[in-house]
Symmetry: C3
Subunit: 351 residues, 3 copies
């Protein structure tokens, strides 16, 4: 629990209200009760502030006539994230090292660890202080895990992987499997290009459940400081994701893609190989990135679903666009021949 | 083995043929032999009934001149599902609890269990009767697993998860990882919104291999009774999927999506956040749901593949649709100026 | 290390240069140093051959004025794959069988194995010689694993699975889970069609991390010799993938799809059920295959991302294609009525 005076300081907000009022819980706007803190995401929520039962509401600006205690912050969502943390984060407590740990020669373990049962660590690894390894985690030879990292159940980490401090890896993720490189031989059989690089995950990254991050071919696949991946994301060999970039679920980066810092990549996006996306770019859901994207660009591409019959009719016309274009061209020719002044623009028949 | 008289009763069908004939095996229409039962999915199969070697064929209506024994059922596929079950389902037999079970304080285990080796169960869990846990299953603290649930190898279940009776979870699925919620701070670093909710999976659900179902932010992520998920599906935080809804592989639901009951969602579909899909809606493969969908609607969206060059040409024209529209508008202006009566409809230049 | 004379023989190339020169490492064109071998992928790389510091460069044809040693090969990438292998492949060395192996009755283990800790093998399995099983691998009853197979951490293999020789399965993959078959009963509850088939993976296949390959309904799901799957791929029940076919990440094959031999399937592709793709077909990224594809065809379908506002405008026009078509038709009618000779082609209003 926190007084609003304390909390205002922690979340960097200005209080309008009772500094001695106490909140014990963060909660959503709709579910909040007395004793809770919540936030108004935008003007529509601010307009409903008196319908909210929370003891304190974080807002972007003062709300005339508001009855609740208000905490004014430039980014209410950021202030709320800090409030949730202040009220609900549990301080780390080391659980110790399970007696059944399987660990290879030459591996050094840090202090104050929480290593659950059924963990396997290979040879010559370095495990930092206060690391948590949940059951079923497998770490290959010659890997490093930084201080305060948390690796959830059944994560598989291949050999020679570098994992920074405070990295969180959710259950089932696979880090460092071999990149997908094959070339057909004289008889059409696929010959593998051995993948000799590594995966390096810098500090403060978070990797979602069942993600797959492949090792590089020669150089490394790199996630820079603070990258956050949602679930079921594929990161191909030799990709590099820039600092603080966030990526939503089921997106896939083909080999060698370079993503800038501070990018926002939505879900189910795909990129071709070796594409470069500039810093601060935003890619909306399901976009297929086939060319380099400049810094700061906003790129879209999803075809929204439609009523099935309407979609069928539109799609049929889409399929017949060449014919449609030819008919427009023909009309233009007739009009021109009839003596009208037509500035026809480009010739649609030439691609 | 069953006599057709017995089987007709079990699968709720009317028999035309020999009640004492015996079938031992269910099989596909093409592969069926004497001693087998199969089904004719539609009229095309019914027309080929005498080319099928099965002893009994389930059909939607009588087939004049058929030589095989026929079982008439309104839904032959449903009757066939019941026949497969009657002939091939193996009664549950408890295997006992492996001596190497790792289990936390305060956890209560039910009776007649089948807990394989290498299972870890946290503290204060409740495991029902006749539950099967395959090797490598990890269950977090304060979780419940209902009677007759089957959890396959290497499934990871985070703390405080609720799993109903008869739920089946296939290998590698991750239940209850933290939802994807981040907000940038003053310096562009991503700050996490702690995820305090849970996952609740009601009775009779089935979850496919390597699916990921995130815990809610404050409230819970909920799969209602009888939801069936195929493989590699992402269910974001605070989603709710309605009773008996089925979802095909690789579909992703963004945070807060509410899917009605009895929906059919095909593969590789994606939805935006907080979207609402009404009861009984059907979403065809790869559709991108960007707006609420009314109950019973049929929504499409997949762009079918085409010969590469044809696709390139169509796509080039798609890219030039604004120009195409401008040219139509110009033609209309000329025609109108020439004195023709043109009911031009909407102005395409205004979006 | 190898002399160029030795290496030329191994990689089947013709040497132009010093046969006694020695290379110790394969490396990318940009990063190569003295002592390295690399390759020039195409004419653009060949033009820069003298900017490369490698001791030897594999090229498709002689480069006049080149200062480095050249190795001429028809497919430089193939020759390079062989060179990487010659310089960096590590000969198999058996690690033995972990003392904690859990193994069921009737299972036969081959010789010279490398079975790590925390592996579970069911009853009546057959494990070949020189097989490597990483920690957390779970193999169900009645399964076979061929000689020299490598199965990475936490792979789950269901009962009765057949895995050929030299197969590689990356971490987290799930082989043999039940296919997705349900049919609604009289009250809308989903009834399962039990899945009685198996998965058969022939020799020399490679399966990416976190892939899911479902067992067949009655017949088997089959990957023919030499199939290579990238990560996070879904293979539905009763699919068959032909010899030497390669598939990039996040692609999904619906039930019963039959893919020919030597196909190249890019990432995030999807197919409908029972579709047939002919030998040697190429499917570009994200294409949605809704109809059979003839042998050797090149199919496309990805909608490339665009600047968001441009995409919005194009999409709005796409949505209004029926109206656009009507307006063209109306213009044609006016032109025709005015006495112009118009060969109108097809009627766009009829689908």
């Amino acid at each position: 629990m926190q007084t609003l005076a304390q909390l205002a300081q922690i979340i960097k907000a200005d209080l309008i209200g009772d500094p001695q009022a106490v909140v014990r819980r963060a909660q959503s706007f709709e579910q909040a009760e007395a004793g809770d803190i919540t936030f108004a995401a935008d003007a529509a929520y601010r307009a409903r502030v008196n319908a909210c039962r929370a003891t304190a509401i974080i807002v972007a600006e003062a709300v005339p006539g508001a009855t609740a205690n208000l905490l004014i912050a430039r980014s209410p969502k950021l202030a709320f994230a800090r409030a949730i943390h202040a009220l609900h984060a549990v301080a780390y407590q080391p659980l110790g090292v399970s007696g059944d740990l399987v660990v290879g020669e030459g591996t050094a373990l840090g202090e104050d660890l929480s290593i659950h049962a059924r963990v396997s660590i290979g040879k010559n690894c370095l495990i930092g202080d206060r690391v948590t390894l949940h059951p079923g985690v497998v770490i290959g030879d010659d890997s490093h895990v930084g201080d305060d990292a948390v690796i959830y159940a059944n994560v598989a980490i291949y050999e020679r992987t570098e994992i920074g401090s405070r990295v969180i890896i959710h259950a089932g993720a696979v880090i460092g499997a071999e990149g997908f490189g094959f070339v057909p031989d004289e008889e059409g059989r696929q010959v593998k290009l051995l993948q000799l690089g590594r995966v390096r995950i810098e500090d403060d990254c978070e990797i979602g459940a069942n993600c797959t991050i492949d090792r590089g071919g020669f150089a490394d696949t790199v996630l820079r400081r603070g990258v956050k991946l949602d679930n079921l994301i594929q990161v191909g060999h030799n990709c590099e994701l820039g600092e603080d970039t966030v990526v939503a679920a089921q997106t896939g980066f083909s080999g060698g893609a370079k993503i800038g810092r501070g990018c926002v990549i939505a879900g189910q996006v795909g990129t071709i190989e070796h594409v470069i996306i500039g810093d601060g770019a935003t890619i909306t859901a399901r976009a297929g990135i086939t060319k380099n994207v400049r810094a700061g660009a906003l790129m879209g591409g999803m075809i929204p679903a439609q009523e099935y019959n309407a979609w069928r009719r539109r799609h049929a016309l889409y399929s017949r666009l060449p014919e449609l274009a030819d008919r427009i061209k023909q009309l233009e020719a007739i009009i021109r021949d009839a003596g009208f002044d037509l500035e026809a623009g480009h010739d649609l028949s030439a691609e």
